[in-house]
Structures are given as structure tokens and as C-alpha cells.
Amino acid sequence: MSAPTNIPPNAPVPAALPGNALRSLWREVMQPHRLVLIALALGIAVYAGMTMRWHWIPRYADLALQGFWRTLWLLALSCLLGFMLAVPLGLAQAAGPRFLAAPARAFCTVIRGTPLLLQLWLIYFGLGSLFPQFPWIRESELWPYLRQAWPYALLALTLSYAGYEGEVMRGAFRSVPHGQLEAGRAFGLSRFAILRRIWLPQALQRALPTLGGETVLQMKATPLVATITVIDIYAVASRVRQDTFIIYEPLLMLAVVYLMIAGLITLVFRLLERRYTRGMTA
């Protein structure tokens, strides 16, 4: 599940004044055909609210909130940890010696070439059946955690994000002009300082639009963890369906929740992009 990994050239971010942005949004909306469409959509939403069955919501509200929270932190944590793995993976492929580049490349190929569901089940069922055979694991401090499902879900999601983003970062590191690194060397910066002050920030700038899209894809992958008994928001909706035999309502609600999370991710990345491209000329 990957968007094309080519990094688009940095699009200039307009220094939009709030008033201007609002006015252009107003002009976007105030077109006759759009008003009709919006009215139609509102009509359908109201009709659905009136005629469909929503009485289960109060009973499952607490559980749904917990599930929503679990989805969010699984997403945030796996993206954070995955990205921390992706930087060395990308760097190794872009500039590393062969004995580092080859395994990094193999890792990215395997992760990107197999379905996440399979990886998840391999980790959960495979490791989950392997661990109890070792007494020292069962006696270790970690065992109470390893008996739960979420560490396996987090591991699988993290590795998946690392694999896809390692590939993105490889392209981003490669796309930083060589002159920039040479200039850093001419200033007598150490290799680590060049990476921290010049190479990584510029690679990040170039990768940010792609990373935003990839994070939405990662969000779309989170409901898979419900198959290994992690109770995320999707699992709660499935339970409503099984308990009450109401099919469409929980699914529609779920779709709206995921749409909102996707909107939130897009917004966060737009803000990040604005922050990290502020030094660039248009």
C-alpha cells in the first residue's frame, strides 16, 4: 500500500493570510451547483440520521472512545518509531557501504512486497507461539506485555511503516543536491553535523508531502490489528454488528471517523510543511 515514491518538487507554500484563505474558501463553496450538492448531501445525512437505527450509540460510547484512542496511539507511535527506523534505512541505501545498503534494501523489498496482514499474522501467531517455549522469556519482566496482542500489532505496523518510508527517505536523501553537502564539508563540518544540519533537514523537506500520504495509508492499515484481538475502533464497530445485527450504521460511522482522522493527518502535515519550507523561496 504505497503511494508513488517519487518526491514532487517543493511546491511553494503560499503565505496565506487567514482572511484571504477564508475568502477563497467562500468563493469555492458559493457556486450554484456546489450549493445544490451540499444541500443534497445534508439532506441525505439528515434522512440517514432520522430513519436509520442509532440507538446503540450510547451503550457503546465508552468502548468506542477507548477504541478510538487505541487506534490513534497505535498510529502515532508506529509512525514515530517507524520513521526513526526509516531514516537509517534510507541513509544506508542512499549512501551506505554495500554491507549496509544490501540488507536495508532487502528489508524494504520484503516489507513492500508482502501484504501487511500476512506480516501481522506471522508476527502474532509465529512469535506468539514461539515465545512461551522459552522459560526465560516467561519469567522475564516483559512477559505480562508479551501475552497481550498490542505489542505484536505495534511491531508489525512499525516495521511496515519503516519499510515503506525507508524507500521514501532513500529517494529524499538522494535528491538533495551534492553541492549542499560539499559546502558543508568546505565549512569543515563533521560528517554527523552535515547529516544533522544539512542533509536530513533538506531530505525531510522533500519527503514531507509523500510522508503525509503514506501516513494516511498507515492509518488505513490500522484496522487490520482487529484481526489479532486488539480492540481498536474498527473492532468496536464489528462488535456492535455482531451484538445487534445492525450492519450499515456502525460501518458508516466508522467511515466518518476514519475520514476525520485522515483530514487531521492532512492538516498536521500541511502545517509541518509550512513550517519546514518557510526558508525556501517560491
Binding site: L118, W121, T222, Y234, L251, Y258, L259
Partner: protein
């Protein structure tokens, strides 16, 4: 024949037995699942291409309402997890079909897994394909299209002879990516109980308790599929780009 190998690597004989193509081995089931996965992926990819072509043309040449509806389609499908779309489309599709059949006085039918899978994944693929093809069509040199028009070509001839061949090399990387997504997304149908590769693997692993053996074997099958199709797409792209100059093609 392989005895020397079995004595060299302990456990290999049991693995070979588990993966053998004939029962009690599960290799045959895995391969049948892989075939079903490929079938669905190919069907979904084809349907996605058709939807994507119409979607892209609609987005580029359609009226304001068509364009808005198409952006609702692409936005929603690309922001909602496939798993949920699969469930919604699967249930709603079966319901609507049966209601229509009942209205016509027919018996309700059970929708086949393959057809439902192709339809669902095809709808998802269509949204992504719309964006890929729209970008590629937009990148076609305007002068080429004007030249075609100056020769008196109708819109269909123009698309077939000018727009399509010149956008194809631009669209191929995106389409190859979509095909890879299609092969991997077939795994999601395991959750709605369709016997493709991932579900067959889980059943085999569950009944023999040899989780690593089967999941790794299935991983190898998926990886083979993606690597081989990557090669094929690379070859097609090279073929369609053969008339172009080196890396500095087109306008600066």
C-alpha cells in the same frame, strides 16, 4: 534423492512434507489460494483501469457536477480503510442486488466471493487509477493534442492515437504501483472469509501449528508475484519509452 540434504538440515524433511503439493501436505492449497489471489487482483486491476479512465476523462473534461462527484469518490475511497469499504460494498451490494432481483420476481442469490472481491477492490483501484491517469493525461504535451485536432481527428481517434500512447509511459510507474497494491489488497478478503492465499495459509498454519513455515512460504509466494510483476512492468515501460531520447527528454 534429497536424503543427503535432509540429514544435513534437520527439520527440512518435515517442512518439505508440510509444503508438499499432495495431501497431507498443504502446498496445493497454498498454490490454489495464490491463483485465486491473482485472479481477483487481475480482475480488480482491469476494473480499476476502466473506472480510472472514465474518472480521469470526467475530471478533466466533465461538467462541474461530474467533477465534484468524482472528487468525492476519489477522496472518500482514498481516506477510508479498504477493509471498511469492502464490508460496506459487500453487504450493500448483496442487499441491493437481492432487492432488485426480488422486485423482478426472482429468487435472491448468494454473491460469489470472486465476483464480490473483484467488484470491491476494483472500486478502490478505480479511485487511485483516476488520479494516476489524470496526472498522466495532464502531462501530455498540449501541442500534440492540438496537432491531432488540426488534422481533423475526432475525440475518440484523438484519444486512441495521440493522448493514450503518449500518456502511457507517464502513467506506467503509477499503474505498476497500483497492480502491486491490488495483489497485496487481495489479502484483505481473507477477513471476509474468502479463500485466497492468506486465508489458506492461516488455515494450514492453524491446523498444523507450523506458523513460521506457512507464513514464510506465503510471504515467498507474494514476494515472487510482486518481484516478477515489477520486472514485467519495467519491461513494458522500457518498450513504450523506446522512442524517447535519454534522461533529458521533453521540455526543460
Amino acid at each position: 534423492m534429497l536424503d543427503w540434504l535432509y540429514t544435513l538440515v534437520p527439520g527440512l524433511e518435515t517442512t518439505a512434507g508440510l509444503l508438499s503439493l499432495h495431501p497431507p501436505g498443504w502446498g496445493g492449497n497454498l498454490l490454489r489460494g495464490a491463483l485465486a489471489s491473482l485472479q481477483i487482483a487481475a480482475g480488480a486491476f482491469g476494473m480499476g483501469l476502466v473506472l480510472g479512465t472514465f474518472g480521469a476523462l470526467g475530471k478533466l473534461n466533465g461538467g462541474p457536477v461530474t467533477r465534484d462527484l468524482l472528487s468525492v469518490y476519489t477522496t472518500v475511497v482514498r481516506a477510508v480503510p479498504e477493509l471498511i469499504l469492502i464490508l460496506i460494498i459487500y453487504y450493500a451490494g448483496t442487499d441491493l442486488l437481492n432487492q432488485a432481483l426480488r422486485a423482478m420476481g426472482q429468487r435472491p442469490v448468494e454473491v460469489s466471493g470472486v465476483a464480490a472481491g473483484i467488484f470491491v477492490l476494483g472500486t478502490v483501484q478505480g479511485a487511485y487509477a483516476t488520479e494516476v491517469l489524470r496526472g498522466a493525461i495532464q502531462a501530455v504535451d498540449k501541442g500534440q493534442i492540438e496537432a491531432g485536432r488540426a488534422y481533423g481527428m475526432g475525440p475518440i481517434t484523438l484519444f486512441r492515437r495521440v493522448t493514450f500512447p503518449s500518456m502511457l509511459p507517464l502513467a506506467l510507474p503509477g499503474l505498476s504501483n497500483l497492480w502491486l497494491i491490488a495483489t497485496k489488497d487481495t489479502a484483505l478478503l481473507a477477513i471476509v472469509g474468502f479463500s485466497e492465499l492468506t486465508l489458506e495459509t492461516r488455515q494450514a498454519a492453524g491446523s498444523t501449528r507450523a506458523f513460521f513455515t506457512f507464513f514464510l512460504a506465503a510471504g515467498a509466494i507474494y514476494l515472487t508475484m510482486t518481484l516478477v510483476s515489477g520486472r514485467v512492468f519495467g519491461w513494458i515501460e522500457a518498450r513504450y519509452r523506446r522512442g524517447e531520447a535519454g534522461p533529458t527528454r521533453g521540455h526543460p
